[in-house]
Amino acid sequence: MKEFLLSNRLKIGQEAFHQMEEFVHTTRLPLRLFDRKGNICWISNYFKGNLNFCKWIHAQGGSSKPCSKIHQEALRESLRWGEAILSKCCYFVMQMVSPILDKGQSIGYLIASPFLLIHPSELQPEELLALCQDNPTRDRYLKKAIHSIPVLQDEEVKEAAQYLFRIADLFSNPNLSDLLKVREAQILQGKIADQIRDLKDFDRELTPHSLSKLFHDREKEIVTKIRLGDRNGAKEILYQLLAIILVQYLENFEILKVSILELLIILSRAAVEAGAKVEEMLGLRYGFITELSKIRDQEELCLWIVKVLDKMTEQIYQTRNAKNYQRLKKAMDFIEMHCGEPLTVEQVAQAIYLSPSRLSHIIKDELGMTLIDYLSKKRIDKAKALLINEDVPIAQIAQEVGFSDQSYFTKVFKKIAGCTPRAYRTNLFQTSNGNLSPD
C-alpha cells in the first residue's frame, strides 16, 4: 500500500490505513480522509459502491451548500471546541469531523459520514420530500440511498466521536494536545459560567457586600476540603470562588490577577495545614508567583489556578505516608459500611489484612484518635441524623447504629454530643420549629 503525503511534513503510512479500516469496521461509519485543501486522500468502501447516499445527492444537484463548505465549517468548529464535532451535513444526515494537526496547524481532517440518528422509517414525509425536491419519481432511488446509511444509537455516536478523535490524534504531529488544551479551557469556562448562573439564582442583587461574605464562607470550605484530602470537593468550591471573583472583576485584569494571587496564598496555607511540608510549599509558591506574572488572559488564569490546586493536593498526598493513607482510607470505608453492626478492632483489621495493633497505630498517627473513638464518633453522627425523624424510638436508633444496650448508647452520645439523645432531639425541634413542647 502506498503512503499518502498529507503535507510536506506528515506522511500517513501503513499503520494509519489499518487504523482507519479498523474504525470503519467497529463503528460501521463510512470514513474519508482529506488534506488541508479538502482533497480526498482516502475513502472507505462505502463510497466505492454504487449505492451511496452522497453519490445520489450529487446526482440530484447536491444540497444547497457544497459539501466542501460544510466540511470546512465543521472543521473550524472542531478546532474551536477541541474535540470531534457532530453536525448535520445535509438535511437530516449527520457527519462527524476531527482535525489533524502538525505543530498546531491544521494539515487535514477525518470525516465520518453519512450516518443517521433516527431510523429512516421515522423520517417525516416532508423531510423526504425536501430531499427529492418534490419530485416523486426520484422517491424510489431515494429510499434505497437512505437505507444505505448506517443508523447509530446515541451511545455509539459518543464512542465513535471519541474513537475518531483518537485516530486524528495518532495522525497528528506530535499529537492533538494543543486541541485538548482548548477543550479544557472551554469546559472550565462552562463550569464557571454555570456557577455564576447559580450565584445569580442564589442572590439576585449580587452586592459587593454579599459577594465578599460568600467568598469568605467558600474560602473556609475549601480549606476544610483540602485538609480532608477531598480533591474533587475542593475543585468544585474553587469553581465557585472563581465565579465570585469573575462576577466582580471580569473586566479588570490586574485586580483579577491580584484576587487569584490571594487565592493562591489561601490554597497554599491550607495545604501546609493539611500536612504539606512548609519549605517545599514555599518553593512551590515561589514558582507559582513567577508563573502567574506571565499570564496574559482570564481564560489562562482560571486554568492555571485549577492546576495549582491539583499540584498542591498532590503535594499533600506525597507528604502523608501514602501507603498508610491508602490503608486508612480502606479502614474508614469499611467502618462507614459496617458501623451499624457491633464492630471490633479485630474485625476491621481482618477486613483490610492488617494486625489489630498495626491498624491501631496507623489510625492513631493519621487521625489523632483511637479506632474505638473514631467508630463511636461515626455511630453518633449517624444517630444524630436519625434523630431528626421524630417517629423513630431512641431504642431503635441505638440498635441501628450498632449499640445493643440503650443506656450505654446514651452514655456515649452524651460524651460526644454533650447532651442526651432525647435532649438533642428536643433541641432540634425547638430551634427548627420555634415552638415544640418537650415530649
Binding site: 472551554q186 454555570d194 445569580k200 471580569l250 473586566e251
Partner: protein, 196 residues
C-alpha cells in the same frame, strides 16, 4: 390541538418552549448529549413549521424589529435560539445573525434593517467583553440613539450589563419578550396572539 381551538401562543409557551428549555437544562447537567439535543430541536422545528404560517396569518404587523446573535467567539446558541422563537411568537420581527457575530456585523445589521432592538448573548466569561465592544461600536456609529440593547447568558449579571451601558438585561429566555416591550414602550397586548 390547533383544531380543538387551543391558542397558538399557549402551544408555544406551554408546550414547545418548556420542552426545549428542559432539554437544554439536561444538556447543561450532562444528562443529554448532542444527539438528544438535536432530536429535541428537530421536534421543536416540526412544531414551529405547523405554527409559523398560522401565527403570520393572524398577525397584521410586526411590532418591532430585533437583531439577535451570540457575540464574537461564542458558539453557544441554545439560549439565543429559544429567545428567537419566543420573540417570534410574540409578534417581533427577528433578524438572527447566528453565532460568533463581530461588533461590526451587529452594527451593520442594525443600520441595514433599521432595527429598534439589538439582543446579544454570551455563554462564556471569556467572550462577555465582546458585548461591551459591540455597544461601544454602536455608540461610535451614532446608532445608539435609535436602537436599544439587551444582553443575556449564564455568566452575564445585571451589574455587568449596567457597566457596559446595555439598556436591558434578561435573567432567562422566557423574560425576553416582556423586557423588550418595556424597553421599547410597547403595550403589553400588542402583537400577542390572543385567544380567539
Amino acid at each position: 390541538m390547533i383544531k380543538e381551538g387551543v391558542d397558538l401562543f399557549r402551544i408555544l409557551n406551554h408546550g414547545l418552549i418548556p420542552g426545549m428549555l428542559d432539554a437544554s437544562e439536561r444538556f447543561r447537567r450532562g444528562e443529554f448529549f448532542i444527539p438528544e439535543l438535536l432530536m429535541s430541536s428537530r421536534a421543536l422545528q416540526f412544531g414551529l413549521n405547523v405554527l409559523r404560517p398560522l401565527i403570520q396569518e393572524r398577525k397584521n404587523h410586526k411590532i418591532a424589529k430585533v437583531i439577535i446573535g451570540t457575540v464574537k467567539f461564542d458558539l453557544h446558541d441554545i439560549g439565543k435560539n429559544l429567545v428567537t422563537i419566543l420573540l417570534e411568537g410574540n409578534g417581533f420581527e427577528i433578524i438572527d445573525l447566528g453565532v460568533d457575530v463581530t461588533p461590526e456585523k451587529f452594527v451593520r445589521a442594525v443600520e441595514k434593517h433599521e432595527a429598534q432592538m439589538l439582543a446579544m448573548s454570551s455563554l462564556l466569561t471569556s467572550t462577555m467583553s465582546w458585548m461591551r465592544f459591540t455597544i461601544e461600536q454602536l455608540q461610535a456609529s451614532g446608532l445608539s440613539k435609535k436602537v436599544k440593547t439587551l444582553v443575556g447568558g449564564a455568566p452575564v449579571t445585571p451589574i455587568f450589563a449596567k457597566n457596559i451601558g446595555a439598556d436591558g438585561y434578561c435573567r432567562e429566555a422566557t423574560s425576553a419578550p416582556s423586557t423588550i416591550r418595556k424597553l421599547l414602550g410597547i403595550d403589553e397586548d400588542e402583537g400577542i396572539l390572543v385567544k380567539q
